[in-house]
Amino acid sequence: MNVLRSGTQAVRIEQDVVLARQTARKLAVEAGLRLVDQTKLVTAASELARNTVVYGRGGDMDWEILEEERRKGLRLTFRDQGPGIADMKLAMTDGWTSGGGLGLGLTGAKRLVDDFSVESAPGQGTRVMICKWT
């Protein structure tokens, strides 16, 4: 697997959520994802960026345009050094929220992408990776 291009963008304040999804859209087009897949990835990115701001106290989004033999992909990693997720099983339950949300962000994001992983430990922050392939 080759990384064709990569970068990082700050996700600190609410407006950065809009910027993160605009970047995600641009890169998804560049990676050659079809419209529906672009929209799914951008929506997942929006959910995760908002979590980074609201729960993670801000962080960054790393992006990579990937290439394999027969396909290209866009991988986004949202990382923060916030409080972390104490109960991952609960956080990955549809409809569970510790705030006033719908509890759809993490589980919904997972459904919308091809690859999904989340790592988190209390006090050590959270890292969520998503990837969509052509």
């Binding site: 959520v17 929506t43 759809l104 589980t107 919904g108 459904r111």
Partner: protein
């Protein structure tokens, strides 16, 4: 402060969302709209989202709230122009927008509103 314009069309209010809304803008719209419904006694609200290339759980929740709010204020809400890719994504995200009425475009939304208001 940035605001989303609300147009009055007879008994109805028309909101055309043309910008990629950040969360605060969405909250402002919610407040502005309930204010306008009460001031104008509007019977219906059309929310045109044809320019939105994505709807996430936050925007989805706002649409649901506006719809519920206007119902309490004796007005109906119709969401029009959702792009197919957005609709597909919403379903997969798990957001079903219960109680929200949708129509293909503004014209259809308008006649739907007229029918509903007349039949009351």
């Amino acid at each position: 402060m940035e605001r989303i314009p609300i147009l009055r069309m007879g008994d109805f209010l028309l909101v055309t969302i043309q910008v990629d809304m950040h969360d605060e803008l969405a909250m402002t719209l919610q407040d502005d709209l309930s204010d306008r419904i009460s001031k104008t006694s509007a019977r219906g609200v059309l929310i045109d989202i044809s320019a939105l290339d994505m709807v996430d759980s936050f925007i989805g929740r706002m649409i649901g709230t506006i719809s519920g709010l206007s119902r309490i204020m004796d007005a109906q809400t119709v969401v029009v122009g959702m792009q197919p890719a957005v609709a597909i994504t919403l379903v997969e995200l798990g957001l079903t927008l219960p109680g929200v009425i949708t129509a293909l475009n503004v014209e259809r939304g308008m006649s739907l509103l007229r029918e509903r208001v007349q039949s009351e």
